[in-house]
């Protein structure tokens, strides 16, 4: 999931590697480290300043309740069933998790853009590169959950503020 988030943020899933190495597998450890170093080297240095907003949004996404709840409940929902008694197929659940991840990440990106001073919908869309319609749609959701508040119209453009 974190790798997917890194891809969404533009940082690159290849920068995060996961490997199992037992305490007796010294040679395998060497292989894992060499492979990781090669993969990361290929990605190039990470420009922390350029990705500052993306990283802040990613942090907020992972700290948020929605994702934490979903990940926490995954085992129960795919084995025992949800509150309606339906047992979810693991793949369906994972695909839903991916959608929620993208949604939450975009919402946090929008919030970051507003905090950076882009308060109109058009300005937000231009600064983060997400379509106007999607920004508008997510802002409605964010208004409902009190992440942002509608401040009014400026030059017949809707303006929002972070809460």
């Amino acid at each position: 999931m974190t790798q997917k988030l890194l891809d969404l943020a533009g940082i690159g899933a290849a920068r995060l590697q996961l490997a199992w190495v037992s305490s007796a597998e010294a040679q395998r450890f060497v292989e894992v480290v060499s492979a990781t170093t090669a993969a990361v080297k290929e990605q190039g240095p990470l420009d922390t300043k350029a990705f500052a907003d993306a990283l802040t949004a990613a942090e907020a996404t992972l700290t948020g309740e929605t994702l934490r709840w979903m990940v926490g409940k995954e085992v129960a929902i795919t084995t025992k069933g949800d509150v309606y008694g339906r047992k979810w197929d693991a793949r369906t659940f994972e695909s839903l998790l991916d959608q929620v991840l993208e949604r939450e990440y975009h919402k946090n990106l929008i919030l970051q853009a507003i905090k950076n001073g882009h308060t109109s919908v058009r300005a937000i869309s231009a600064s983060i590169g997400i379509k106007l319609q999607r920004v508008s749609y997510l802002l409605a959701d964010m208004e409902k959950t009190s992440m942002v508040e509608f401040k009014g119209m400026e030059d017949s453009k809707p303006v929002f503020a972070a809460l």
Binding site: T2, S23, A26, G44
Partner: protein, 66 residues
Amino acid sequence: MGDFEPKIVAFLCNWCAYAGADLAGVSRLQYPPNIRTVRVMCSGRVDPLFVIKAFKEGCDGVLVSG
């Protein structure tokens, strides 16, 4: 690009990966010096937020090994 040496933070589980790394050291096996190890008691301890924090602090890659 050929000069670039990535900084990689490696979260290693004490019982498995860290011990494996230790064995590699004792056996005098050579491996790239780019990794900075952080010993954790279990790889399950590693929260995705650790990964983001590592990137924020300036590393280029993260390895989680259990």
